[in-house]
Every structure is written in structure tokens, then in C-alpha cells.
Symmetry: C2
């Protein structure tokens, strides 16, 4: 299992332990909502920020509680879930580095968000952050646009849940995760230049994300593997062998 980084990747130092916590070296700086903020807005944000590390399964926002803090994801993956009274579960959002977790001004909130993998966050105390958003329309503007992109993603996922076959759902998951893993710091290719990523979810969570059972997920993984579309190095490590075939599998109901 050789692992070589794409030569175009420029590894940046997070300096997670820096006392100064400067935004300059932050890996999320160029993509998160803090991108394009004015110097003033950015330093106001930075002044109330705090780094956090979460273990898999640790909650960020618990159902029925006011969130303690909001955060930008620096590394790792966060899952948002909704559950029915009898326990059936649906993952309604997967959040990746540079994504924002939690929504200011939300009152109702039947939300639950937790770390799917180990996660590093840049967090902001809830009330201070809300005050900051009120003071700086620029920050609100970016949050608004980010919310719209999340809404669009949710609606794309509705199309997947309502209209795609199991095969298409699994293939779409792979293309989505590959796309989100494509960043200057996080991209990963094997020795032959083929895209590769670690799934942030186990089979059960994957099923809850795709609206399937874990057995069906496992079987569809196998089919894509047998067809030479992907390779599996362990149950979580996926290499895309045939990107074109994967794209077809993600939008065509037959085969």
C-alpha cells in the first residue's frame, strides 16, 4: 500500500498548537467562510476562535440543545443525522474540511452533528459568534451563501434518495467523497496516479446516508469492485480504477 502525495499538493503547517493561532497558515483559510473576509472581520473572528480536537462519535451539536459553539472543520468529517421515533436514522449531511458546523440564530433545530472520524475544529463560542455576525454584514453574507450551497447539496441528495438505484447511490457517494477530498492538502493518489480516499463512514452509517441497508451497501461495493471500477484496500480504503465507469454508474440505472 504505497502512498504518494500529488506533487502539486503544497502541504501547509496547521500549527495547531501555536498560541497565536494565526489564520495565515490555516488549511481552511482559502475555502471556508473566512475566505474573502476583510482584515477587520477576520481578526474579529480570530479573536474568539479556539482549536478543538474530537474523537469519532463525539457530538458537536446535540439534539434539542442550544449549540455551545459553532465551528469550521480543519480536518476530519462530521455527520449530521435525523432520526425517527422508532430509531430509523438518516444522515442528512456530511461535512468536510472548510465546512461550517452549526447555524447561528436557529431556534427550532432538530439537529444532531457528531464527529464521524477524528476531527479538528476552529470553534467560536455561540453567543459571541452571533454577536459578531450581527455586527459584520460581510460575515453574514458569507454564511448566507454557504447556507445556500448546503441547501443545494441537500436537494441534490434528495434526488439521489428518491430516484437513484442502490448501485447509483453507492457510485454517487464515491464521486462525492472523491470530489470533496480533492484539495491542495488532502488529495491522495496511488503510485499510478489513481485517485484514492478513505471512507469516513462504516457500512452502517453509509447505509444511513444512502437510504439503504448495510447489506445492500456491502453488495454494491462488491459489484463495483468485481466490475473493476474501484479497488478496496481494506473496507474503508477506496481507489478509483475507472473514473469514467464510476460516473456512468452514478447516473445510469442499468448496470
Amino acid at each position: 500500500m504505497t502512498k504518494t502525495l500529488n506533487p502539486t499538493c503544497t502541504l501547509q503547517d496547521n500549527r495547531l498548537n501555536d498560541v497565536l493561532r494565526s489564520c495565515d497558515g490555516c488549511t481552511a483559510r482559502s475555502k471556508a467562510i473566512c475566505a474573502d473576509l476583510t482584515k477587520e472581520e477576520l481578526s474579529a473572528l480570530n479573536a474568539i476562535s479556539r482549536r478543538r480536537q474530537l474523537r469519532p462519535g463525539q457530538p458537536i451539536i446535540s439534539d434539542q440543545e442550544q449549540p455551545e459553539y459553532f465551528a469550521i472543520i480543519l480536518s476530519g468529517t462530521v455527520k449530521q443525522t435525523k432520526v425517527l421515533p422508532d430509531g430509523r436514522q438518516q444522515i442528512v449531511g456530511l461535512l468536510f474540511p472548510s465546512d461550517f458546523v452549526g447555524w447561528p440564530f436557529e431556534t427550532h433545530g432538530s439537529h444532531h452533528a457528531e464527529a464521524a472520524t477524528a476531527v479538528q475544529l476552529c470553534s467560536f463560542p455561540a453567543q459571541q459568534f452571533e454577536r459578531l455576525v450581527r455586527q459584520h454584514p460581510g460575515i453574514q453574507h458569507h454564511l448566507f451563501r454557504y447556507a445556500l450551497s448546503q441547501l443545494d447539496a441537500a436537494q441534490d441528495w434528495m434526488l439521489l434518495l428518491g430516484r437513484k438505484t442502490a448501485r447509483e447511490k453507492v457510485a454517487s457517494l464515491f464521486t462525492m467523497i472523491a470530489k470533496r477530498s480533492r484539495g491542495p492538502d488532502t488529495c491522495d493518489f496511488d503510485s499510478q496516479g489513481r485517485e484514492r480516499f478513505a471512507l469516513p463512514l462504516n457500512r452502517s452509517d453509509t447505509a444511513d446516508f444512502l437510504g439503504l441497508t448495510l447489506e445492500t451497501v456491502s453488495r454494491q461495493f462488491r459489484v463495483l469492485k468485481d466490475n473493476g471500477v474501484i479497488r478496496l484496500d481494506g473496507p474503508r480504503m477506496v481507489t478509483i480504477l475507472d473514473p469514467a465507469a464510476l460516473d456512468i454508474a452514478a447516473t445510469s440505472p442499468f448496470v
Copy 2:
């Protein structure tokens, strides 16, 4: 088919044809994003507003085009759709009176919105509206909170699409439409005080909203009717006979 309005309803005059187009008599005034705006913000909005009437099927925002205008729905229902290359369709949003149609500052937008029924809109030219939003953080704040409520609704629907049975989906649709129809102006009860509403979608669109086929939708309507949960007066007119049973049917997979 007797139709009596709930005595608590206070019918207001839309004055759709008034030249002055005052917001004072507007039916959406108290619930739409224009609620809680300052006098200044409201009059700025009002100054660029224009009433529009749409026939069923008429598009508001076409896929791949910059929207011409944004709008608040005064009456009727609007559907947002996403389609796969091979034509499979999913309705990703149903919008009711007081809802906002279209999103300022959106660039990508694989959005399509069209009138599901006859629709009356209070519309705003896209560019003028965007300029207004930039100038008035208060308007943006309301739009932001509205976007969050739409995101929450989308995620609730993801739970429905991914995890509910056909029976539950249809029952959930009825509870959702009943809830949205419950307004001071639009509520409708039969002679015995039972809640009643007209479905804004035909069977095919209903199927596209619930992630089912139209035949399955038709059969589940029949089961709920046979069980005495609802009554159908024509294919579109639903009366809720047993609200408790309907709530159970909406969240319990067995029967």
C-alpha cells in the same frame, strides 16, 4: 361538498389590482421575510415590487439561467425540481404562500421552479433585489434565517425519502400540506370541523415528491381512505377524518 370557513379566519383583501400596492393589506405580510422589517426596508422593497399571476406549469426560474426576478408567494403552490439526465425527476421543494422563491447571489443553480397551481406572486427584479439586500443587512438577516428553515425542511424530507415506507410517505405528505394550509386566510374545514385541503400536485408529481411511482401513490391513497383515515372528494380534495391515525401512519412503518 359544503365549504365553510373557520370562524377564526379573518379574510383579508389582497387588493391585487391596487395601483398603490400597499404592503398593509398583503396576506403574506405577517409571515414572509417582509415581516419584522423596518419601515425603511419595507418601503424600499415595496418600491421595486410587482404583482404577477402564473398559470399551472409556468416556470419562475428555469434551469441554467440567471433568474429574472425573485418573489414572495401570495397564493398558490410552487414546486422546485431536479432531474437526472435520463429524465427521472425529484421534486425537492414545495413552496406555499409567504415562502420566498429564488435565491440572490446564487451562481451555480441547478434549480428549476414552476407554478404547481395558479400562483400569485409579489416579485422583485433580480438585480435590484440583490442591490437592496446588500444595502440592508436586516433583509439579508431574514433571508438567511429563511434559508436555514428551508435547509431544515429539506433535511426532514431526506429522512422521509431515505427511511420511510410508501404508507408513511403519503401520510407525511398529508400532515405537511395540512400544516402549511393552516393559515388565518387559507384554513378550510368541512361542516363537521374536519380539516380539509386541495392537493397542489397530481399523482405523478406527488410520486416525484415522495420518491415513489404514481401507481404506488394511488394505492396508498386508497388504503388510507379504506382505513377511514381520510376522505377523498375527487382525486385532489382530501379531508382528514382521523388526525391521530394519520400522525401514526406518518411515522410508524407497520400498518
